[in-house]
């Protein structure tokens, strides 16, 4: 994404990601007995490169896999983790299922709305954060309330911890490192003796 932005800023035509990553694409397709199975992997690749799945990404995937454009879009639109519109650099998804909801998830959503100045479904004006709530349980019920940012986990997110996470990302923290450092409790603690809320 950053490389393309830089290229555009210099007035040069940006090389599409599928040309740059042709070898990765071939390798992905080769893993499967049938090429069509690589469709979801290619959609993930597009989203990693662009932050979302654009119409031209679907055009490319359809052509590369020999599928109709409508087929690609029908698959893409079935899955809630693919964004078919531009989103913020960090997509915050708060778990909205029962266990997180009962243990502070709902007030966490309100807190984040206030802190980020956006409603659920919206992106901050600086393009950094999109706030979403999922009805799907994110499989972190012992760490309720939990959220994910670009599919990285954060457990037991109190309002203070939410502020800490947002602040760290604004200051350029590495997401994966941040999740490992403050998002997850040590396995022993999380899985066997998670402290009571």
């Amino acid at each position: 994404m950053a490389a393309q932005d830089a290229a555009r800023a210099n007035g040069a035509p940006a090389q599409p990601w599928w040309e740059r990553r042709a070898a990765d694409i071939d390798q992905l397709i080769a893993r499967y007995p049938k090429a069509r199975s690589a469709l979801m992997g290619l959609l993930w690749m597009a989203q990693e490169e662009r932050g979302w799945v654009a119409p031209e990404d679907m055009d490319f995937i359809a052509q590369r896999l020999g599928l109709s454009r409508a087929y690609v879009e029908s698959t893409c639109s079935f899955y809630s983790l693919y964004h078919r519109e531009p989103v913020g650099r960090y997509v915050i998804v708060v778990c909205g299922n029962v266990m997180c909801g009962l243990r502070g998830g709902e007030s966490l959503v309100r807190h984040l709305e206030e802190r980020l100045g956006v409603k659920v479904g919206e992106t901050t004006p600086d393009g950094l954060f999109t706030l979403l709530v999922t009805g799907e349980c994110v499989a972190a019920c012992d760490g309720a309330p939990a959220l994910q940012i670009n599919e990285e986990y954060f457990h037991k997110v109190t309002p203070e911890r939410a502020d800490q996470i947002v602040q760290a990302l604004r200051e350029g923290a590495d997401l994966v490192e941040l999740s490992e450092r403050i998002g997850l409790t040590a396995p022993g603690a999380v899985w066997e003796a998670g402290e009571s809320a």
């Binding site: 069509r36 079935f78 809630s80 266990m99 799907e136 499989a139 599919e151 009571s196």
Partner: protein, 429 residues
């Protein structure tokens, strides 16, 4: 009581994502044993004898499932269902993130037993860390000769392909999983034909849950008799219970099947939170009917829980206290199932949406007297009328609370305050 950990041994103590640590505690011994001294049929027989029942929810014996594959020369595929999405369940995620080599070894053994041409792990899209861990573990295993061509110098070759889902609960249903793995919408297919006969790309396919496959190395290594000595007669082995809700120590606990609900909640999970009284328990995820305090001495095995009117399911044990409103909880689930219905079948697509709509108006104090009868009638209109079981399972919790907590529904309709002790804010959709 202290129980021996099997699948979770070492988790939280050593870094089992490093292959040398996994090997140091006996890892990949079973694979070596099977490839060097057992035929595929012998591995299959051992798993069958162990009566390893599927840990993903249905409790169907894995060895019997493997036996359904027709021997007709077509390529066979093995799919590990790692799309763990059942609300209240988080044990597969732990196994994947903290013990990936156990899963890889289990897949290799199962692939050997069923003579699979290729194996797939259908991994939930939300498990990005799990994806990194698995991809790394696969390369470690390959470097050691446990995976790839001519494994450990034998004629057995196998590749494991990790396929990332992208946020769809229905892909945990085995035929929805196969549709998704083929690059399509995760829409379930009518059975029969079952995947064993016409699965991935129309070929004979086995679909097994993560935890089920993680049991296989131990059965091969220590034998079926050892496995049968744990748990109950009809539900042998251990199960990882994911406990959440109003207990002191929520978490994953590996225990013999047949442990009582009381021991799980009061001893293992540290009891209820201060000020919390047990109101109801779902023993196996969102689709399991509630158990009540009177069931505390119920043994948690597949058959006992079923006899008590619920299901062990995924063993995602959700513990509710007196502050939890059952109408509101039912609304949470209704919203969830409505969103996750794939939309193919009218009773499910329309039924889940209307269930949510009716419960929402109840929750907002605008319920109508006839709503309770309408909700009860879903038992006939939404059960047994669709391609897969999402529709049936979307209303099992609701039916159980309509029965056991009818007064809460009536109070909502009569416009009285919510009966839960600490009613919380109404959730707007």
């Amino acid at each position: 009581m202290k129980y021996e950990k099997v699948l979770t041994k070492g988790i939280g103590e050593v870094d089992l994502t490093r292959i040398e640590n996994y090997e140091a505690q006996g890892g990949y011994q079973a694979l070596r044993k099977a490839l060097k001294s057992m035929t595929p049929a012998e591995v299959h027989e051992e798993v069958k004898k162990a009566n390893l029942r599927g840990r993903g929810g249905a409790g169907f014996p894995a060895g019997v499932k493997w036996g359904f594959l027709p021997d007709d020369g077509r390529p066979r595929y093995l799919c590990c269902n790692a799309d763990e999405s059942e609300p209240g369940t988080f044990n597969n995620r732990m196994l994947i993130e903290f013990n990936p080599h156990l899963l890889i070894e289990g897949i290799l053994l199962a692939a050997y037993a069923v003579r699979a041409a290729r194996s797939f792990i259908y991994l939930r899209g939300e498990f990005r860390k799990g994806y990194r861990v698995l991809m790394d573990a696969i390369e470690q295993a390959r470097a050691k000769g446990y995976l790839g061509d001519k494994i450990l110098g034998t004629d057995f070759s196998q590749e494991i392909v990790v396929h990332r889902g992208a946020g769809a609960y229905i892909c945990g249903e085995e035929t929805g999983l196969l549709s998704s793995l083929e690059g399509g919408r995760g829409e379930p297919r009518i059975k029969p034909p079952f995947p064993a006969v016409a699965g991935l790309y129309g070929m004979p396919t086995v679909v097994n849950n993560v935890e089920t496959l993680c049991n296989v190395p131990f059965i091969v290594d220590r034998g079926a008799d050892w496995f049968l000595s744990i748990g109950t007669e009809k539900s042998p082995g251990t199960k990882i219970f994911s406990v959440s809700g109003f207990v002191r120590r929520p978490g994953n606990y590996e225990l013999p099947l047949g442990i009582t609900l009381r021991e799980l909640i009061e001893d293992v999970a540290g009891g209820m939170l201060p000020g919390s009284e047990l109101k109801a328990v779902q023993p196996g995820g969102a689709s399991s009917p509630v158990l009540l305090p009177e069931h505390l001495d119920l043994p948690l095995d597949f058959d006992s829980v079923q006899q008590a009117g619920s299901i062990l399911g995924t063993a995602g044990v959700m513990v509710f206290d007196q502050s939890v409103c059952m109408v509101r909880t039912a609304l949470y689930y209704a919203d969830f199932f409505s969103h996750e219905s794939c939309g193919q079948c009218t009773p499910c697509r329309e039924g889940t949406a209307w269930t949510a709509r009716i419960l929402r108006r109840l929750e907002h104090g605008q319920g109508r007297p006839e709503d309770i009868e309408v909700l009860k009638s879903l038992r006939t209109t939404m059960s047994g009328t669709t391609i897969c079981l999402l529709s049936d399972f979307s209303i099992t919790f609701l039916q159980s609370v309509l029965k056991h907590f009818a007064h809460e529904f009536e109070a909502h309709i009569q416009g009285r305050a919510c009966l839960a002790e600490r009613p919380r804010e109404v959730r707007s959709a």
